[in-house]
């Protein structure tokens, strides 16, 4: 529960930021943070790096697009209170399926299998016109109006994003202390011993992927409302790698790393082009990411933690 408090400073943003900072920077960072949280969760507690997070987010995004209001004449419109649970269920199911496929893989093999699933989904969305509208995808997707509050307005939308981010963090923090959460960590550390005491590992691993799908799916709904569109580009290699970069620079060891990484990523992505000659801005982004990874192997979260530890030690020494 404690680490959900880390999100609280984000709640102060509406007091000083204009709409651009509110939605484009902090809102987008939190959305990407939620999707990256799903990767950090798998990496930290199941010990598996998955490349399929953008895919799970894409599944819920496409569900919202297909069954919601859009401007491309594909799909059928259902009320939002049906669509939203459906989108979450579909994303969780996609997590289950990916978990079943990748259940025996570790390390680089898990990366390759999840990447293969992600890329296959990308090409599928690009070439299927009946459900995914191919290359063009869906546009004109609108967040609904709930009880008189239009979720397309910056402030309500931001408050929704921040609540989802907090809930997801609390879910992760609560879940890892539950019996199932502890079993997942046991499977990470010593799968053979888990088997030896009579617990089958497959359902445990699959349920971890299902939770990851649930979290990525929540982020995916917010993302499709933020972009107001979804197409094969949204589940391609670019977004897949972005999510990994966010999780790595933030720190894979703690859930909060996902949000720190997302904020750093969004700031870089948005403003690098202002700081440096335009043909070179990707070099700047690359160099900063390289510097973070070299200077802080555990990500920004790990770096801050070690600074904090050193600071505390010095205070303690001074007191002696």
């Amino acid at each position: 529960m404690k680490s959900a408090l880390f999100i609280l400073p984000f709640a102060l943003v509406p007091f000083f930021a204009n709409d651009f900072w509110l939605v484009q920077i902090f809102g987008r960072a939190l959305i990407l943070g939620v999707i990256a949280l799903s990767l950090t969760f798998l990496a930290a507690y199941l010990g598996v790096v998955s490349f399929a997070q953008a895919t799970m987010a894409g599944v819920s995004g496409y569900t919202v697009a297909y069954f919601g209001p859009n401007s491309v004449d594909v799909g059928r419109e259902l009320p939002f209170y049906v669509v939203l649970p459906l989108a979450i269920i579909m994303a969780t199911l996609s997590g289950v399926i990916i978990g079943l496929i990748a259940r025996r893989s570790q390390g680089i093999y898990a990366i390759m299998i999840t990447l293969a699933v992600g890329v296959a989904f990308f090409y599928f969305t690009r070439q299927n016109y009946t459900y995914f509208n191919g290359w063009t995808g869906f546009s004109g997707i609108r967040a609904p109006e709930i009880a008189g509050t239009n979720l397309r307005d910056p402030l309500p939308f931001y408050l929704l994003i921040i609540s989802v981010a907090m809930l997801c963090l609390m879910l992760v923090n609560g879940f890892i202390k539950s019996p199932l959460g502890l079993t997942i960590q046991a499977v990470r550390d010593a799968p053979k011993r888990v088997l030896a005491i009579g617990i089958p590992t497959t359902p445990v691993i699959v349920s971890a992927y299902a939770i990851a799908g649930f979290i990525a799916g929540s982020g995916g709904i917010l993302n499709v409302w933020y972009q107001e569109r979804i197409s094969s580009f949204s589940v391609g290699l670019g977004p897949i790698v972005d999510i990994l970069v966010i999780a790595v620079i933030g720190g894979l060891k703690h859930p909060i790393g996902a949000f720190i990484g997302a904020l750093a990523f969004v700031l870089l992505d948005t403003f690098a082009v202002d700081f440096i000659d335009r043909e070179r801005f990707n070099t700047l982004i690359g160099l900063v990411l390289l510097a973070i990874i070299m200077g802080a192997p555990d990500g920004l979260h790990g770096l801050a933690k070690s600074w904090l530890a050193r600071f505390k030690k010095r205070v303690a020494e001074n007191q002696v």
Binding site: Q24, G236, R278
Partner: protein, 415 residues
């Protein structure tokens, strides 16, 4: 807690400095969106040159107001174009946006423009048909054509001059080639030709053998709407498999880089017609002046303006002319400026008169080119026909044209 507080202090400092950014009221800010990363980076850069050229020719100011340009990059995806535009509008406070480069991005910005009625969008080089034809937006202007307009002249040339009756189509499976095929088939079918089969391939396909062997043997020619490496791969494999049918090219199929590449397929291209709005070495007087001005301003640019420099230039040039007419007055949600844009007429670098139709889409010039062998054995494109005043409904009654429905893999059809 510490980390987060630190990040927050840092970002709020950044935020505050951003709010305090000085903006003189007299500056006119133009945001430019182009693709500056990935495979299109060099071409996207040329689009930016087009805008810079238009502003440099105006002396960097309009009626005493300085013009400032702010560049953002997209990566050919609609999402990135929308993010770039939002940043330009909400953070940099631009008055106008020139861009984007590719078709799906254009559709995305057209949708976005409806949410920002106070900003005027001028299309860069994106050429999707529906950007202006269906569901158009009051503040989205395209001083250029769409992919169908870029093929005008080719269909009738292929039928009437080259005598082709039956043509097979090989094209990439997305919106721009659909539109190109529509532009070709509208004329070709109206002239009495037939297209028995269309082959759609995914972008970036390497193996075309299944298509090569499926092309009916009784067709007179093959219309190839592929770009870059896809075109080279297809043409090579078609030639190696013993295919001998003449080729008809789309707007991005037979460019100079293909003509300069090595391989026996090149001989097959001699005489191949193609449609395009921009011919780099066109010898019209206006084009020569434009090209000279381009080379003078950008000695390290291309040897001649590309299709992207040409189109971005026309949009920026139109904006500057309209701004001059209203003396830089952008008040009242730019109403006067937009009225000036709507009624604008100017001579384009290709020598025609640019003006807009009721959907704010350009009425443009188009070229039919053909591949020829120079004396030194190298290949080039030369102009065989210039078609003036091409409108978006390709010379048909707009209502009839609209009634034919949205372009897709199966529309139009004349087997």
């Amino acid at each position: 807690m510490f980390t987060k507080l630190k990040t927050i202090t840092m970002t709020s400092a950044l935020a505050l400095s951003a709010f305090a950014a000085p903006a003189s009221a007299e500056d006119i800010k133009i945001g430019v969106i182009s693709i500056l990363e990935g495979a299109f980076a060099a071409l996207g850069q040329d689009g930016i040159r087009g805008v810079e050229l238009a502003i440099a020719e105006a002396g960097g100011e309009v009626a005493g107001n300085d013009i400032e340009i702010i560049v953002m990059s997209s990566d050919a995806s609609p999402d990135s174009a929308v993010n770039a535009a939002r940043k330009l509008i909400e953070q940099d406070g631009v008055d106008l946006i020139v861009g984007p480069l590719s078709g799906s991005e254009g559709l995305a910005l057209r949708d976005l423009s409806k949410s920002f009625p106070a900003v005027t969008f001028l299309n860069g080089s994106s050429a999707a048909q529906d950007t202006t034809l269906r569901d158009s937006s009051d503040n989205f202007f395209r001083f250029g054509g769409d992919g169908a307009q870029w093929m005008v002249g080719v269909g009738s040339y292929a039928h009437d001059d080259l005598g082709y009756e039956k043509v097979a189509v090989v094209a990439e499976d997305y919106s721009f080639p659909y539109t190109q095929v529509l532009g070709f088939m509208t004329e070709f079918c109206a002239a009495g030709g037939t297209v028995p089969e269309k082959f759609w391939t995914p972008i970036g396909a390497k193996d075309y053998s299944s298509i090569v062997y499926s092309i009916p043997s009784d067709v007179d020619a093959v219309f190839v709407a592929l770009g870059g490496a896809d075109a080279v791969n297809f043409l090579t494999q078609y030639n190696q498999a013993g295919g001998t049918k003449p080729i008809i090219g789309g707007s991005i199929t037979i460019d100079q880089s293909i003509l300069d590449s090595e391989g026996p397929f090149k001989q097959q291209l001699i005489g191949a017609p193609a449609g395009t709005p921009t011919v780099s070495d066109y010898d019209g007087a206006e084009w020569k002046a434009f090209s000279a001005s381009y080379t003078e301003h950008f000695p390290d640019g291309f040897t001649a303006p590309s299709i992207f420099a040409h189109h971005y230039y026309m949009s920026a040039h139109a904006a500057i002319l309209a701004l001059e007419e209203v003396e830089g007055d952008l008040s009242g949600d730019q109403a006067a400026f937009r009225a000036a844009l709507t009624d604008l007429e100017f001579v384009t670098p290709t020598g025609g008169t640019m003006r807009l139709d009721e959907n704010r889409n350009g009425i443009v010039d188009n070229f039919v080119t053909e591949v020829f062998e120079r004396e030194d054995g190298t290949l080039g494109n030369r102009v065989v026909k210039v078609v003036r005043d091409v409108d978006q409904s390709l010379g048909q009654d707009p209502a009839t044209f609209l009634a034919q429905g949205s372009v897709s893999r199966d529309n139009p059809s004349c087997p």
